[in-house]
Symmetry: C2
Subunit: 114 residues, 2 copies
């Protein structure tokens, strides 16, 4: 975690990005993060085990979709919207619009979203 590898925008690949964005939980996480705010992993709510959530966050990070940082014992994640837009113009917005329309990842949210 401390040495988490993040691809630069140049290193991102279309196939890894499309793969990262082809799972409902990961799409849900991206939707939650689409407001641009950094979130602690503990704030994220998803209908999967913590280990599975951690795996999904790693897939998103490794593809370059998100950036993760550790502060003490806590991990935080933020969407790399600008890098995605630079590398794959229009892709993220198209996916977010379709996901909103279809309700993909609706069961992913924030713990205290009251």
């Amino acid at each position: 975690m401390k040495q988490a590898r993040h691809p630069s925008a140049d290193e991102m690949t279309l196939v890894a990005t499309m793969t990262a964005l082809s799972d409902p939980i990961r799409i849900g996480l991206v939707r939650v993060l689409s407001d641009g705010r950094e979130r602690g992993w503990g704030e994220l709510r998803a209908p999967v085990a913590k280990s599975t959530l951690s795996h999904h966050l790693k897939v998103l990070r490794d593809a370059g979709v998100t950036r993760t940082r550790q502060e003490g014992t806590r991990c935080y994640v933020v969407l790399r919207r600008d890098d995605l837009e630079l590398r794959f113009p229009g892709l993220l917005d198209a996916v977010l619009a379709a996901a909103d329309d279809e309700g993909v990842g609706d069961r992913v949210g924030l713990v205290d979203a009251r």
Copy 2:
């Protein structure tokens, strides 16, 4: 093949479409078909076994990305660009632009593209 099931535009799902478009061979096939022309399967050239190519064409068809028809003993395939645009506005163009830029699926082409 004769009874090939094609989802309607309404039945297409984001996850199936993203999955279909997350493989370099399938992206290459979509690029070849992006000129809108229907192609015989025999015209398609890809660096994989025929059975693998057939599988990729089935994944594209089942997701709704392409439409396949059989005429006698030959199969033909065409990109469902309008249905994709209707269901997922901007997605196909974003993927095609990124694939062109990155050269994804460059080894897929037409047999007689001389």
